[in-house]
Symmetry: C2
Subunit: 356 residues, 2 copies
């Protein structure tokens, strides 16, 4: 077999503020001859089909000397994250050519992955991926880490999920937000969402059937006011994706015994001048509010299976719309990532690298 081009997306440098697709990344093209790729024991050579772009990646784009729960990306190395890929060759009998897997891989067209790591960051075979029951991109969204994040946040932090209580979710048209809201509706909660443009608000109300929704940019001068208007009974559960001034306003509108699942604070990630202060934290005492951070792999071991079973059922019943925002072409990964950070995505942001 002749040589092919293997395009990679290289992380060039630590960005200041919002990353710049041209300056902070580099598209690198090398040649690869697939038959010459040598696999060690328990490895697979895969063709990357989809790559996920996620807010947490911004946390990894920092000076490597600054500690965090996630390792920093190394300048000069390829970016990496969750991918959907097709197995081309395998030295592990559990995987054969043609298998579709979800894994953690580089932003490049061909990856060699170790199958030795099991668990959350290991390689997972998806037996029904070719069934056509759902788009493959869903494996990075509602049927992947995104969906699990929604499930863990609601069940681990926010129980009891009492029907009739008010769930407010920010970045509600985003990857996790849309699952949180729709799943909340299926549980009988009153669901309110916010997003950064009117088209998204429309989508939340008309397609995802949220009970109320608003464009936070139009209400930035009085977030407390719009929250009180859209949550007339107060907020019982807040699924926190944005942080900053929104969190501060939510604390004012929370009811007694409110639960706040802190999933992300995307409004803060690109602030080169430090974070916004939270001035209403004291309300957590009077109102006995719980705020708790979590990760998608935090729940009991039964959560992933239960979550995906639940979401598949809701998908089949048409009670869950899983919108993915698909950008085409590996060269567009940096731009898709930055668009997502800027809230320009509609649903889960993924990049299609190749056809199956």
């Amino acid at each position: 077999m002749s040589s092919l081009i293997n395009t990679q997306v290289i992380y060039k440098q630590v960005p200041t503020g919002l990353p710049n697709p041209d300056q902070d990344f580099e598209i690198k093209k090398t040649t690869i001859t697939l038959k010459d790729v040598v696999l060690k024991a328990n490895e697979i050579l895969v063709k990357t089909l989809f790559a996920s772009v996620d807010p947490y990646m911004r946390v990894r784009m920092r000076d490597p000397s600054v500690p965090s729960y996630l390792p920093a990306f190394i300048p000069g190395q390829p970016m990496n994250g969750a991918i959907v890929a097709e197995v081309l060759r395998s030295t592990d009998s559990k995987f054969i050519q043609g298998d579709i897997v979800v894994a953690f891989g580089n932003w490049e067209e061909y990856n060699v992955l170790s199958t030795a790591d099991a668990g959350f960051f290991g390689v997972e075979k998806i037996p029904d991926a070719r069934s056509g029951k759902y788009p493959l991109s869903n494996l990075l969204g509602v049927l992947g880490v995104t969906g699990l994040t929604a499930y863990v946040g609601l069940h681990k932090i926010c129980e009891p999920l009492t029907p009739g209580q008010t769930l407010y979710v920010s970045a509600a048209a985003g990857a996790v937000g849309q699952v949180v809201g729709q799943y909340g509706k299926s549980l009988g909660l009153r669901v309110v969402g916010s997003a950064g443009d009117d088209k998204k608000v429309d989508y939340l109300l008309k397609e995802l059937k949220f009970d109320a929704a608003f464009n936070y940019k139009k209400h930035s001068s009085d977030l407390v006011g719009i929250l009180k208007e859209t949550c007339p009974n107060g907020i019982d559960i807040y699924f926190e994706n944005v942080g900053g001034k929104m969190l501060d306003a939510v604390l004012v509108v929370c009811n007694s015994n409110a639960r706040i699942a802190a999933c992300g604070m995307i409004s803060q990630y690109n602030r080169p001048d430090g974070h916004e202060g939270i001035f209403n934290i004291r309300t957590i005492i009077g109102k006995k509010i719980r705020i708790e951070g979590f990760h998608a792999n935090d729940g009991p071991p039964t959560y992933p299976a239960t979550a995906f079973q639940t979401f598949r059922k809701l998908l089949e019943e048409g009670r869950l719309l899983a919108k993915d925002h698909v950008t085409e072409g590996i060269e567009n990964l940096p731009q898709a990532f930055v668009y997502m950070l800027n809230g320009k995505n509609f649903g889960k942001a993924v990049v299609k690298i190749a056809d199956l």
Copy 2:
């Protein structure tokens, strides 16, 4: 019986910043003839022996139009709070002359209390109060709401209380703090405390046997540094009594899965210019930190009995020192209250109104 003087402490006006004992309160003396006091059904006439002064009272000294979890004090009315009192006369067969009770009563020498309200804010008879096993002031401290607050915060919010983990408590020589720290020691935790003067720090180390302690005023320019020094393994449990910059620093030093019981934020109560911002809130996501507010009456119904049984046992074994800061004389209630807000108390601040 001839008439007596009944001294009352009247709440005069909403303070700006730290209350002023002379301007914001008024000592009012009226006469009372005890035999002429008419009791309705289920009432008791009591002589007040001790009155509690507590940080939460500052929260009640606000414009009554501002909502909060606690009703605002009404200017012109007496202050009120937890008291220890002796029953002089009763129309409820469950109480007889000479009984000692803990109740919610006015800051005045003689109170008429309804015994109809049961539960947390009701009148509670203390059968062994005259046994001499403990000073009566303890009924407002370790054997009262103060002790229960320590117990509920640790058990409801901070479990698991794993021996060897680091518990940090602020305002550690204060009413709740000293119980939290000593009880934490008895559970095998490594206990670190802070206070606002060297004598208190000395007391924490030498008498209460804390593993480490520091004067936060001497380290105000680098709270993170002193926390890292005194908690070399990081903070697993933070019992939050002060808020503001201390909370912000603690968030930096917390370990993964840290639990923060938010009991009070006394550093913020007297700031007329608004609260300090919390800038490190984002760390709760990466480190999966839980922050939760609570009240003393929040736990399961079994908590009070279990808590007081536990603390009595520790007191008897000499493993718990229950220091009360006793000021004498009802006229000194406002000053004792303000001293306590200013951190001048050493242990639980109470005012002795009369001898038994």
